[in-house]
Symmetry: C2
Subunit: 320 residues, 2 copies
């Protein structure tokens, strides 16, 4: 289904500057540091780390599998109950009387088949914060709401051993209240991105992801460079949120990405005249994407690099 | 690389309402009518139709191929020169003296290897139009600019047999001036989409693409439904452009898509109280995407249907 899949292996060992563009690259050493730092944070809090890989909406398939292959006698469905602690997307609100009733129904409805293993909340409202203190206030409120609900369950005689919260901003700046949970489940921290930098979740040098793009045109009358990266390789995320557009251009704070069509990007000077001599045709710019999750969804292969060369090729799973 | 690729074939023959969601569906009969209508338009104008499939930036690979496999003596590189006739993205402006010089260099630089076969322009500025008359004004100006440049070339003794313009809005409402070109190259017309409907390129019933999504949550306190389609299945295109968000919801003009995260969409009533009884959990909504090109880029498989059943599976090519 992807004619390029096999041919990408020819890039193993290649210097980054030889890759066909646009190319999604990941710095192996930076990812390892990011992974270790999050593991260390969880160790310090005494929590399990569950890296959040989105595997949603599988209940119909799970039920079909169950019908075809009944669980052996000793196996049970382990169910997590999702709480909405202010994020306003999915989950039951812990203060809603229906929440306790639902938890009890899960725990007691078919105890030989189903176990209520825990409650969890995604504090995605941290993405609307302007600084780390605001992120931490949400993390504190979310952890407290989750833990209070676990207490309510315990008092009602409904066992619920696990309590988890996630979101990369909150898990990048944990608060002491989190130590009373049993796990954290952030997802973006391995790559980080421009958005996380702006939120204060990471330093710029902790961002592992880039999209490499080549200069394919000089347009002096528009004071613009044309590059071979459009929204098909970057997504439109961040268009109205970041000062430099959907990406920052590494090492060139005087440039910004002002336009993206499907396969083209338009780059201009933030201020004044663009120095075209610095950006010859074929030269490479490294874009730091606003939202790594969205950019990663656009690429069939990720080029993992170390020492300036490709050391691994990652092929993400797609579809539903 | 995509664990679902093989398993999708099990959906051949399935009724649409059984598909796993989110699912990109294409109405075969509508696509056939759209294809025939565009062919008929081109026939009426005496033009060739070149459906625009984006195959960009292949010059480095083409050069590498050439070095490995030199062209046989009778084969030549057939080069099209791209003109910027007001769209402001890629190409040389026809009134720029450099345009004639470039065309001459292509035509005369290595005539045994390279032939200047034509000039073409993408009038993407039609996407900023508010009505069909404005689209047609741009189509007329673009066709005229391209043809005037061909005349300049002819007078300068530079042969250039072909002249092409493209953009689905302009090709959906051709103007008589286009008849003097040799071809049109629209790309979006097979599927059409909400944007093209708003631009007047098509009627709503001519849009072949949908994203099917299921209701996975009722949130009466927010007056919202949660559906299993986020930007990972729709893209963020149109968020600030269409009155109903990144998609319209077929058959339900009283609903709009107010929020998209990676795997979730939030649907609310345009006005007043949402009638949750009409949308039970598991029921399917058909989203009409704002921008078919962007939505199609998010899906590993397209379910082509006729008579309410899947009749073909299309697996798009990805990557660069």
């Amino acid at each position: 289904m992807d004619g390029r899949t096999d041919s990408t292996s020819t890039w193993l060992g290649a210097p980054l500057e030889q890759l066909p563009t646009p190319a999604l690259t990941l710095d192996q050493a930076t990812m390892r540091r990011n992974a270790e730092r999050m593991r260390e944070r969880c160790r310090a809090l005494g929590l399990r780390l569950r890296p959040h890989v989105k595997t949603h909406k599988t209940l119909p398939q799970a039920l079909a599998l169950l019908q075809q292959h009944p669980l052996p006698g000793t196996k049970r469905w382990l169910v997590w109950l999702k709480l909405d602690c202010g994020n306003g997307r999915a989950g039951v609100r812990p203060a809603d009387p229906a929440a306790l009733a639902l938890a009890r129904a899960i725990a007691e409805g078919a105890p030989e088949k189903v176990t209520l293993v825990g409650v969890y909340a995604h504090c995605g409202d941290t993405y609307g914060c302007r600084d780390v203190l605001a992120v931490q206030a949400i993390a504190r409120a979310t952890a407290t709401a989750v833990l209070d609900f676990v207490t309510v369950l315990r008092q009602a005689g409904v066992p619920c051993p696990q309590a988890s919260i996630g979101s990369t901003p909150s898990c990048s700046h944990p608060v002491p209240e989190m130590a009373r949970l049993t796990e954290l489940h952030p997802g973006n921290y391995l790559f980080y991105d421009l958005q996380q930098t702006l939120l204060g979740s990471c330093h710029p040098e902790e961002v592992a992801i880039r999209v490499l793009t080549r200069v394919i045109g000089h347009y002096p009358h528009r004071n613009q460079l044309l590059v071979d990266c459009g929204w098909a390789a970057l997504s439109l995320h961040g268009r109205d949120q970041a000062p430099t557009g959907c990406a920052a251009i590494e090492g060139h704070p005087q440039l910004r990405l002002v336009g993206l069509t499907q396969e083209h990007g338009q780059v201009e000077a933030v201020d004044g005249q663009l120095d075209f001599g610095r950006f010859p045709l074929g030269s490479i710019l490294a874009l730091i994407p606003f939202h790594a999750c969205a950019t990663a969804a656009m690429h069939p292969v990720y080029y993992v690099h170390a020492g300036g060369k490709v050391v691994e090729l990652w092929h993400p799973v797609r579809g539903w």
